[in-house]
Symmetry: C2
Subunit: 328 residues, 2 copies
C-alpha cells in the first residue's frame, strides 16, 4: 500500500505509464487537428484537466496479462477516456456546473449549445476510434455503454425526490451511470488482448465491482467533509433531490423519522432537506454505506484471484484500495 494520492496513482499507472502517455498524446493530437481555433481550444479545454485517467489505465492494465497488439489497446484506452470526457461535457451542461478538473466547463465558457454539440462530437469520435480495433464485440459493448450512461442519468433525473425507490433501483442506476463504463474499460482490454473467455469475464466483473464501489464512495463523500473541501454544499445530492445509498439506508432504519415523513409525502422544503443531511451525516447510515462499498471491494479482489501474479495485478489491487479509501 502506498500513502499519498499522487504516489498511489503513480504506482497504479507505473506498468502502463508509457501507453498512458500515448493516450494523452493522441488526445492532444485530436485537439490540434481542428483548423478552427475555437474548436481545438474547446477540445483542449475539455480533455486536459487534471483527471486521474483511471478508466484508460483500467483498459491498459486489463490488457497486460496476455501478449497483444499495443497499438490496438492504446486506441481502445483513448476511446474509453474520450467517452468519459464526452459524458462529463454533457453532465456539466445539464447540471449547469461551472468548474471541472480545476477549469471552467465547456458550457460555462461557450454556452449550452456548444457544449451539447461538442459532447456529441466527442461521443462520436470515441465510437469511431473503437471501430479502429475492428472487433465488433467491443464496438457493440461501447455503444451499449453510451446507452447505459444516458439511461442512468435519465433515471436519476426521473427519480428525483422519489422516496419509493428501492436499493435495487439505486444499484441499477449506479451500474448505468458509472459501473458500466468501468466494466467496458476492463472487458475491452481483456478481449482485445486475446485473453480466454473466463479471464475476460473475471476482469469485466472486476470492473463492475470497482465501478460500483467508486460511485458509492462518491455518494458517501458527498456527506462528508466541509463545503470548502467538497467545493459544493455538504449533502448536495440530497439537496437536489437525488437519493443515494446513505439516504436509502437511513430511510430503511428510520421509517418513522418526522422530517423524512414530510419528505416522503412529497415535501421538498430546503430546511427539511438540510435537516435530513445533518441527520444522515451523523448516523450509522454512513458506516452502513461504507460496509456496502467494502463488499464490492472484496468481490473486486476475488475477481483478481485467478489472474497471473503479474505487476499489473498489483496495480489493479492498489486501484481497488485507492477507490474505496479516497477522500475526494
Amino acid at each position: 500500500m502506498v500513502d499519498t494520492v499522487d504516489r498511489r496513482i503513480q504506482y497504479i499507472q507505473e506498468p502502463v505509464q508509457e501507453q498512458l502517455d500515448q493516450v494523452v498524446e493522441r488526445l492532444r493530437g485530436l485537439a490540434s487537428q481542428h483548423h478552427a481555433p475555437s474548436q481545438s481550444e474547446l477540445l483542449e479545454s475539455a480533455a486536459f484537466g487534471a483527471g486521474k485517467k483511471l478508466r484508460p489505465a483500467l483498459t491498459l492494465l486489463a490488457a497486460s496479462f496476455y501478449p497483444c497488439d499495443p497499438e490496438n489497446i492504446v486506441t481502445m484506452a483513448t476511446s474509453v477516456e474520450l467517452l468519459h470526457i464526452a459524458s462529463l461535457i454533457h453532465d456539466d451542461t445539464v447540471d449547469r456546473s461551472s468548474m471541472r478538473r480545476g477549469r471552467a466547463t465547456v458550457s460555462s465558457r461557450w454556452g449550452g449549445k456548444v457544449a451539447v454539440l461538442l459532447g456529441d462530437y466527442v461521443f462520436a469520435t470515441s465510437a469511431t476510434y473503437v471501430c479502429d480495433t475492428g472487433n465488433v464485440r467491443v464496438i457493440r459493448r461501447f455503444s451499449e455503454t453510451i446507452m447505459d450512461l444516458a439511461k442512468g442519468e435519465l433515471s436519476e433525473h426521473f427519480s428525483t425526490h422519489d422516496w419509493n425507490q428501492t436499493r435495487e433501483d439505486y444499484e441499477l442506476r449506479t451500474y448505468n451511470k458509472t459501473a458500466s463504463l468501468f466494466c467496458t474499460s476492463t472487458e475491452s482490454g481483456a478481449v482485445l488482448s486475446g485473453a480466454p473467455e473466463e479471464v475476460c469475464q473475471a476482469l469485466k466483473s472486476y470492473g463492475y465491482q470497482v465501478g460500483m464501489a467508486f460511485q458509492i464512495m462518491d455518494d458517501i463523500l458527498d456527506f462528508q467533509g466541509t463545503e470548502e473541501e467538497l467545493g459544493k454544499p455538504v449533502g448536495n445530492d440530497l439537496l437536489q433531490g437525488t437519493l443515494t445509498l446513505p439516504v436509502l439506508l437511513f430511510a430503511e432504519r428510520h421509517p418513522d423519522e418526522l422530517v423524512l415523513r414530510r419528505l416522503k409525502e412529497g415535501g421538498t422544503d430546503v430546511a427539511d432537506l438540510q435537516k435530513a443531511v445533518e441527520m444522515i451525516r451523523n448516523s450509522a447510515a454512513i458506516s452502513d454505506a461504507l460496509a456496502v462499498a467494502d463488499e464490492y471491494r472484496s468481490r473486486a479482489f476475488e475477481m483478481l484471484g485467478g489472474l497471473e501474479d503479474h505487476r499489473a495485478r498489483r496495480s489493479l489491487e492498489e486501484l481497488t484500495e485507492y477507490v474505496t479509501q479516497r477522500r475526494s
Copy 2:
C-alpha cells in the same frame, strides 16, 4: 412524375413499403421496451411525428438492386432514422425550438436536461443497431456521420454573422450537417446488399448530391412564402446570423450594397438584417441558388445512370425531383 406531395412520397416508398412499415414497428417496439412510462412516452413523442422517412427509404431503395438479407437492411434503415431523430432532438434543444413535426419538442415538454440525455440515448441506440449488421465498414461510417453532424452544427454556430465565409465553407458545412447522413443512408444500403464497389460509390455519391440539393432547397425555402406558411419569420436563418447560399450569392453580386457593408463591418442590427432579407428574396440570388440546387439534381440523376432499370431506380429519380421541387 406524380403531383401531390402525399402521392409523390407514396410513389417513392412503394417498392419498399413493407420494409418501411417494419422500420416504424421497430421504432415503436423500442419505445414500448421502457418500463418507466416517462421514458417510453419520450421516445414515442420523439419518434412518431409526421416525418417523411426519406433517409430510411433511401437505405432500403439503395439496397434493392442486389439480393440481400432483408432483416439486415431493415435494421440499418431503422438506425438511420434513429440517428436522424437523435440529431433533431439535440438541434431542437440547442435552437430552443418548441414544435417539430406537428408536436411539442422533447426539450419544450421535458426541458433541456432530459432532451440532451434522451438525444444521447437515441444516438447510442442507433449505433448499437448498426452493430447488429456486423459490418465494420458500415459501423464506422455511421460513427463518422455523427461526428459530421456535430461538426456541421458547431461550424454553423461559430460562423454566425461571419461575412468572410466562402461558398466552400458553406458547402462543407452543408455536407456535414445534411448530406453526410444522406450519403450514409444510400452507401450503407448498397454495401449491405453486397453491391459491387462501383455501385456502392455511385449510390453514395447519389446520396451526396441529393443531400446537398435538399439542404440548399431548405435554405431557399427560408426566404420564400409567408411567415404563416413557414411557421417562422421569413429569412429566419439570416435573422439569426446564419449565412446560407442565397445570402452568399447575393453578397457576391452586390459587394457595395450599403446594408451589407454595415453587416460586414460587424453590424447585427435587426432592421438591417430584415432589409437584407427583403432584398435577397426579391433578387436574382434566389434563382441563382435554385440553379445550384439543379446542378446537384442533375448529378444525382447521372449517378443513377449505371444502375439496372429497376422500380427502385424510378423511386430514386422521383425522390430527386421531389427534393428539388418541394415547397416545404
